[in-house]
C-alpha cells in the first residue's frame, strides 16, 4: 500500500468531488464523515451550547441539516468536557445523530473574555464563572474536543483581529503553525475525529502564502480559512479567500469560517470554498429578521401587521407553509415561538440556497445561477457591491 493510500485510510473523512464548475472555482462534493455524508457546498448552522436556539434536533434533521457546530469554549465551561464525555460525547448529550464540528475555543476566548493573554503556551484567561485562571493550550483544546467527540475538530489558532496589521500578524501566523503541530500530536482519536488546520496571515498576501505553504505540508484532512470576516474591507476579504483556495489542495475540503450572508456565500463558493458557518441567520431570526431571496424582511415592522402572505410565498419551510407575516408579526408580542418560526425559516433559507447552488454546479449552470441570484437580491445592477463584482470577475463571471 502506498503511503498516500495509508494516510487516506487513516483519516475518517473522504471527499468525493462530484462536479467542478467549468467557469469559476466552484465545486460540488460529497464529504463523507463518520455520522453521515454531507453535500457541499454546505452551510453549517451554529449550536453554541449544544442546542440550536429553540429548535429540536428532529426539526433540524427535518430541515435537511447534515452538520452543525458546537462551541468548545462554551461547552468546556458548561457543562464541562467530563460530563459530556460521560454522556457519550456531544452527539449523545444533545442527541444529534448527524455530524458535528467544534471550534477550538480560541476565537471566543479572545473575543468574549476580557483579560485574556496569548503566550506560546496557549491562551490564558480568567473564567467568567468562578474567576479561576485557566490556560487553553493546543493540547487542552484538542483534549476537550476529543471529549466532545465532534466529527471535525479545529486546531487552536492564534487569532488576531483582521483589522490589525504589523508584526503581531506575522507572529500569530507562525504561532498558529506551531500550534497546529501540537494539536496534531495531541489528537487521541485520529481514526474517529478529523482535525482541520486554520490558515492565518491576516490581510497580508505574503503571510497568507507562507502559512499556506507550511500548513499544506501537514497531513490534515481539511483546511479552514481563518482570520477573516472580522470587519475588514470586503476587497481585502475576497482576495485573501481566493489566494487561499488557489494554494489549498484540491482533494481536501475548504472551510471558510464565519461567513453566512447570502451574497458572501455565493461569491465564496465561486472562489472555491466548500463549507461555511455563521451565527447570523439564527441570531437575526430572534430579532424578527427573516431571510428572503430579495434580502431580509423585518417581521416586527408595522407594515406586516396586515400582510397575510407567508414570509416567502415560494419557500417550502414549515413556517411559510402554515403562517402569515401578519400572524408572526402579532405572535412576536405574545410568545417566544415566534422566534422559533423565524429561526426555522432562516435555516431552511440557508440550506435551500446552498442546495440550489449545488444543483446548479451539478448541472453546469452555476454562472447563470449567480446572475439570477444577484438580480433577485438587488433592485438594480448599480447596487451590486463592487467587491462582489470584482471577485466574480476574477473567476470569469461578468455580472450583467
Amino acid at each position: 500500500m502506498s503511503l498516500k493510500k495509508a494516510l487516506k485510510a487513516a483519516s475518517p473523512l473522504t471527499l468525493r468531488i462530484v462536479a467542478e464548475c467549468q467557469v469559476t472555482k466552484a465545486r460540488a462534493c460529497d464529504l463523507i464523515l463518520p455520522h453521515c455524508s454531507v453535500s457541499t457546498p454546505v452551510f453549517m448552522p451554529v449550536g453554541t451550547q449544544g442546542t440550536l436556539k429553540g429548535i429540536t434536533v428532529d426539526q433540524l434533521e427535518g430541515l435537511g441539516c447534515q452538520i452543525c457546530l458546537g462551541n468548545t469554549y462554551h461547552l468546556g465551561m458548561r457543562p464541562g468536557s467530563d460530563l459530556i464525555e460521560k454522556a457519550s460525547g456531544l452527539h449523545g448529550f444533545m442527541n444529534w445523530k448527524r455530524n458535528l464540528l467544534t471550534d477550538s475555543g480560541g476565537f471566543q476566548m479572545v473575543s468574549l473574555v476580557e483579560l485574556s493573554e496569548v503566550t506560546e503556551d496557549g491562551v490564558k484567561f480568567r473564567s467568567p464563572y468562578d474567576g479561576k485562571e485557566i490556560l487553553l493550550s493546543p493540547e487542552k483544546s484538542i483534549s476537550i474536543q476529543n471529549s466532545l467527540g465532534s466529527d471535525i475538530m479545529m486546531q487552536l489558532d492564534d487569532v488576531v483581529s483582521s483589522t490589525v496589521t504589523g508584526p503581531r500578524v506575522e507572529e500569530a501566523m507562525h504561532r498558529s503553525i506551531r500550534w497546529l503541530d501540537r494539536c496534531i500530536a495531541a489528537n487521541k482519536n485520529p481514526d474517529k475525529q478529523n482535525l482541520f488546520a486554520i490558515i492565518q496571515g491576516g490581510l497580508n498576501a505574503e503571510l497568507r502564502k507562507a502559512c499556506l505553504d507550511e500548513m499544506t505540508q501537514r497531513n490534515v484532512p481539511g483546511f479552514a480559512i481563518g482570520g477573516l470576516s472580522g470587519g475588514e474591507e470586503k476587497d481585502d476579504f475576497w482576495r485573501m479567500v481566493t489566494l487561499s483556495t488557489d494554494y489549498l489542495p484540491r482533494e481536501k475540503p475548504r472551510y471558510l469560517m464565519g461567513v453566512g450572508y447570502a451574497v458572501d456565500l455565493v461569491v465564496c463558493v465561486a472562489l472555491g470554498c466548500d463549507m461555511f458557518d455563521c451565527v447570523f441567520p439564527t441570531r437575526t431570526a430572534r430579532f424578527g429578521s427573516a431571510l428572503v431571496p430579495w434580502g431580509s424582511l423585518q417581521v416586527k415592522h408595522k407594515q406586516y401587521a396586515k400582510d397575510f402572505q407567508p414570509i416567502d410565498p415560494d419557500c417550502q419551510c414549515p413556517t411559510c407553509k402554515r403562517h402569515s407575516r401578519a400572524y408572526l408579526h402579532a405572535l412576536f408580542k405574545s410568545d417566544t415561538a415566534a422566534m422559533h418560526h423565524i429561526t426555522i425559516h432562516n435555516i431552511a433559507y440557508q440550506l435551500s440556497l446552498m442546495h440550489s447552488v449545488r444543483q446548479s454546479i451539478l448541472e453546469g449552470r452555476f454562472p447563470e445561477f449567480i446572475q439570477m441570484f444577484m438580480k433577485r437580491m438587488f433592485p438594480s445592477r448599480d447596487q451590486y457591491p463592487s467587491w462582489a463584482v470584482d471577485a466574480l470577475a476574477s473567476v470569469n463571471v461578468k455580472l450583467e
Binding site: Q49, V57, Q59, R78, P79, A338
Partner: protein, 417 residues
C-alpha cells in the same frame, strides 16, 4: 353541544361533550382540560413540536387579552382567528383573560371591563366585546363579566355588584348574539360570579342558569384567591344549582390536588395553563398518576424527586401561583447536573424519549430557548395524561387510589438520604 354523562360518582362526573365545533364533528371527554395558548400558539411550541404530543384535547383556548389589540387586523382578514393563526382542525374557545396572568384591578365600570395586552389596557364595552367575537369566530366564548372579586376582603356590596353587572352583560351579549348571523351556531358560556359569598354564588348560578347558555364558567375561584376548602364548598354549592346536562368550566385552577378536589365538587373542565407555569419556573411535572396494579415501585421513585419540593401544603398559607409545587422537580437544581435519566421514567413524550435530565439542566443554566420547548412538551404531555388517568379512575372506581397516588402520603414517603 351535548354533554353525555356516563357516570356520576360522589359528585364527580364522567362523560363526553359531543357535537363540538360548527360541524359538530368534535368531542371532548370530561373531566378534561383545554389546550392553553398564547395567541393561538401553545407557549414555546411550533406546530411541529406540538404535533409530537398525542391525544391533545380537541378544544383550544384563546384569550381576548391577547387578541383585542389585533382587532383591526382580524377584521381585515375576515376569515376568523383559527385560520389567521394557522390552527389545524380544532374547536376554538375564546375567554376574556389569560388564566396564567393576573390582571390589575380597579378598572371595571358598570359598562366596561378591561383586558391587558402587550400594548397595555384595552377597555371593552359589550358592543366592542361582541364585535371582537364576530371577528374571532370561535366555537364557544364566555360572556363578558366583572370578575374582580377574587381579592381578599372584597366587600359584600362589591360582590353583589359584580353579580348584577355580569348578569346584565350576559343579557346584552345574548341579545347581540341572537341578532348576529356571524355567530350562528356559536355557543355562549355564562359566567358565575359571587366572590367568596355563598348566597351571591348561588344567586349568580341560579340566574345564569335561567339564560340560554351552553355551559358555565366559574370565575373568581382561582388559585391564590382562596383556600381549597372554601373553593370546594363554594364550587359544590354552585354546581348543585346548575343543570346537570351542561358543562362547568372552572377558571384559574390547575394544580393536580385542586383539580381532584374540584372534580369531586362537580367541575367538568379546566384551563390547561398549569403546565405552562411549571415550565416557566424551569420545572418538570413528575407526580405519579399510575393506577395500574404494579405501580408501587414507580411511585416510590417519583416520590424521591418530590421530597425535594417539600411537603404538600394542604392547609397552609395561600400559594403564589408562581411558586413551585409538590408535583414537580426543579431541573435547575445541581443534583440533576449529571443525571442521565429521562425526566420521568417510562414517559412517552418527545422530551423523555430523546433527552436526559442532565441536558435539560444544562439548557436551563445556560438560558437556552430549547429548555422551554422541551419542558413544555413534557409538562403538557404529563398533565393531559393525568386527566386521562382521572377519567380512567372514575370509570373503574379507582378515584381513591388515584388520589393517594397523586397526593402522596405525606410523612409516609420513603426518604432516601
Amino acid at each position: 353541544m351535548k354533554l353525555e354523562l356516563s357516570r356520576v360518582v360522589k359528585g364527580s362526573r364522567l362523560g363526553v361533550l359531543k357535537g363540538l365545533g360548527r360541524m359538530g364533528q368534535h368531542s371532548l371527554e370530561v373531566p378534561g382540560c383545554l389546550v392553553y395558548t398564547h395567541f393561538g400558539t401553545v407557549p414555546h411550541l411550533t406546530q411541529d413540536t406540538l404535533r409530537t404530543l398525542k391525544n391533545l384535547p380537541s378544544v383550544t383556548q384563546v384569550t381576548l387579552s391577547d387578541i383585542a389589540e389585533h382587532q383591526e387586523v382580524l377584521e381585515e382578514f375576515r376569515d376568523g382567528f383559527r385560520k389567521f393563526a394557522g390552527l389545524p382542525d380544532t374547536v376554538l374557545y375564546c375567554s376574556l383573560h389569560d388564566p396564567a396572568a393576573t390582571s390589575p384591578t380597579g378598572y371595571t365600570t358598570n359598562k366596561t371591563v378591561s383586558v391587558w395586552g402587550s400594548g397595555g389596557r384595552i377597555e371593552l364595552t359589550v358592543a366592542k366585546f361582541m364585535a371582537l367575537q364576530k371577528t374571532v369566530q370561535p366555537d364557544w366564548y364566555q360572556s363578558m363579566a366583572d370578575g374582580e372579586t377574587w381579592q381578599n376582603n372584597t366587600s359584600r356590596k362589591r360582590v353583589r355588584k359584580s353579580v348584577d353587572r355580569t348578569l346584565a352583560h350576559l343579557d346584552e351579549c345574548l341579545l347581540v348574539h341572537q341578532n348576529s348571523q356571524e355567530l350562528e351556531g356559536v355557543e355562549v358560556f355564562g359566567m358565575v360570579e359571587g366572590g367568596d359569598i355563598l348566597e351571591e354564588r348561588i344567586r349568580s348560578a341560579r340566574e345564569t342558569a335561567k339564560r340560554p347558555v351552553a355551559g358555565f364558567c366559574l370565575d373568581g375561584l382561582q388559585t391564590g384567591s382562596l383556600q381549597q376548602d372554601l373553593r370546594t364548598q363554594l364550587t359544590a354549592a354552585v354546581t348543585k344549582e346548575l343543570p346537570e346536562n351542561k358543562p362547568r368550566l372552572l377558571q384559574g385552577v390547575g394544580r393536580p390536588d385542586e383539580v381532584l378536589a374540584c372534580v369531586e365538587a362537580g367541575v367538568d373542565l379546566f384551563e390547561g395553563f398549569f403546565p405552562f407555569q411549571v415550565t416557566e419556573r424551569g420545572c418538570a411535572l413528575c407526580f405519579s398518576f399510575d393506577i395500574s396494579p404494579d405501580s408501587e415501585r414507580a411511585v416510590l421513585e417519583l416520590n424521591e424527586e418530590r421530597d425535594a419540593a417539600g411537603d404538600l401544603q394542604q392547609n397552609g398559607d395561600l400559594d403564589e401561583p408562581t411558586k413551585m409545587t409538590y408535583f414537580e422537580m426543579n431541573l435547575k437544581d445541581k443534583r440533576y447536573q449529571g443525571d442521565f435519566r429521562p425526566l420521568v421514567e417510562g414517559c412517552g413524550c418527545y422530551c423523555c424519549k430523546n433527552h436526559q435530565r442532565a441536558y435539560l439542566h444544562h439548557l436551563l443554566v445556560t438560558n437556552e430557548l430549547l429548555a422551554g420547548v422541551l419542558l413544555m412538551i413534557h409538562n403538557t404531555s404529563h398533565y393531559h395524561s393525568f386527566f386521562g388517568a382521572l377519567r380512567e379512575a372514575l370509570a373503574n372506581d379507582k378515584l381513591d387510589l388515584l388520589k393517594r397516588r397523586v397526593l402522596g402520603r405525606p410523612g409516609q414517603t420513603e426518604r432516601k438520604e
